[in-house]
Every structure is written in C-alpha cells, then in structure tokens.
Symmetry: C2
Subunit: 123 residues, 2 copies
DNA sequence: AAAAATACATAGAATTATGATGTATTGTAT
DNA sequence: ATACAATACATCATAATTCTATGTATTTTT
C-alpha cells in the first residue's frame, strides 16, 4: 500500500505566508493557460518558484472545489486511459475576480515593502 | 459608554493577506525603533502604509502577548499620568528571529513575483 | 459638555492551509 | 517481472492566526 509522500515535503515558507495568496496564484495561472488540472497547477507553481512553493494536495484540491462552488471556476472531466483528469477554467466572474485579486496582491506587496523597507523608497 | 470605533475600519486588503506578515512587521519596527508600545505600532504601520494597513487591536495586542510568551519580546510598563503604557522591545532571540523572518518574507515576495508575474523577469 | 483620540484587554467566530489518510493508474529502472 | 516513483484525485480533523464584537478608562480637542 503505497501512497504518495513527495507532496508533503514542505514549501520552504512559514505556512501562514501563503494564506490569501493561494487563490490568486491559481486564478492567475488559469487566466494565463486557459485550462489546467490540479496536478498541472502544482507542477507549474513548483517550477516557477524554483521548488520553493510546493502546494499541498490537501490545500489545492479543496481550494479548487471552493472556487468552483463560489462560481469562479468551471470544470470538465476527461479520462486519460483509466485515469480521471479534471480541467478547470475561469468563469466570467472568475476572470473579474482574478484581475481584482492580482491588483490587490500587487498593491499589498508594494505597501508591505514600504512598511518593512522604507529606506528603499517607493519601488 | 463610548468605545473606540475607528480601529475597526478595515485595512483595504483581504483579511487573509496579512496573515504571516503581522509578526514580521512588528518585529521589524521594534528592531528599528528600539522600544514601542502597541498603539504606537498601530500608528506607525498606518502612517507607513498610507492608511492602507490598519492593525486591529484585537489582532495586535494578542500578537504582542504571544511574541512575549514565545520569548521574542520583553515588556516594561510605565504610567503616563494614570494611563498605562506597555513598552515592548526585542530580546536577543527576537533579534535573531527578526532577521530570519524578514529574509523569509523578502524571499517569499520575490518568489511570488516570479510565480504571478513571470513576464517581468527577476526583479 | 461632547466627541474623538489614546491605551489597554479578552473571547468566540471565521478562515484557510496543513497533516494524515485513502484509492488507483501509469511509467521507469533494476 | 517487479518494485518504486510519479501521476491524479479525494476527505477530514487539526492548527494557526486574524477578525469581530465586546469591554474599561483616561486625555485631548472641539
């Protein structure tokens, strides 16, 4: 009885830092790529972050389901051989929210920089 | 029976974005200023963020207490007239943690930029 | 005299990622 | 061929942290 262990290697960051950013990350990736399935999202985030952000499946799948429930995502199931694959893509509402969340995050990061590194001036 | 209402005006950001950053903000400010009391921290964060981050007292005071409990902060009580004021300052352990947390946050923000705005290249 | 600002506090609720657990298929190296 | 790693989904209790809603009380400003 073998179950996947590699996904449990922690991302190098304190768990709380990711809070509030997971959905932005996902919405943004979907906006770029059109349609993606869960595992693909995991891989792309890993790749782009140089292995520093490793989404946990216990976080990612529930997050996808919640965003679907909230009307931000739609989903199409396909089979690759016998293996199921659920492709997610943004709804119109999801596209709106994506823009809003990304702007918000951008602004927040700028503000955070001002608060923590004020000596750097506005970047 | 008048109780302070202005502190409850929300920071403009989704509540979750601040998670994980509150303690970094506080530790960093204390490292810069030596000793500060809660309300002073609230004001300085408000000022530096142009009013965009308004720490809630229900968040700040428990956070200060927790950091004290964790050995990151020490505290000295003084009276200004009849009004109590609790000055907090970093312990040696707190100074270490401050460096670590700030580095971690810096790196996380960089990584987040790579994941969400990869077209910008490394900043 | 009233209102706003200063200064602290606590407790229950809400949010959300995590850890632990589970099933099952497919590709690869020995 | 057979173990192992990787692919692909899922659920649920727990932990961690901030928020909301309260509360007390003093000082300054209008």
């Amino acid at each position: 009885m073998m179950y996947c262990i590699f996904m449990y290697i922690c991302s190098m960051y304190s768990k709380e830092l990711l809070k509030g950013t997971l959905s932005v990350i996902v919405l943004n990736l979907l906006a770029e790529n059109g349609r993606m399935y869960g595992y693909e999202i995991f891989q792309q985030v890993k790749e782009r972050s140089d292995g520093k952000i490793l989404l946990k499946d216990g976080s990612l799948y529930p997050a996808l389901q919640k965003m679907k429930k909230d009307g931000l995502l739609s989903c199409e199931e396909t089979y690759i051989g016998k293996r199921i694959r659920k492709y997610y893509f943004l709804t119109p509402k999801g596209k709106e929210k994506k823009v809003f969340y990304v702007e918000e995050l951008k602004d927040f990061i700028e503000t955070l920089n001002k608060v923590i590194f004020p000596e750097l001036g506005t970047i």
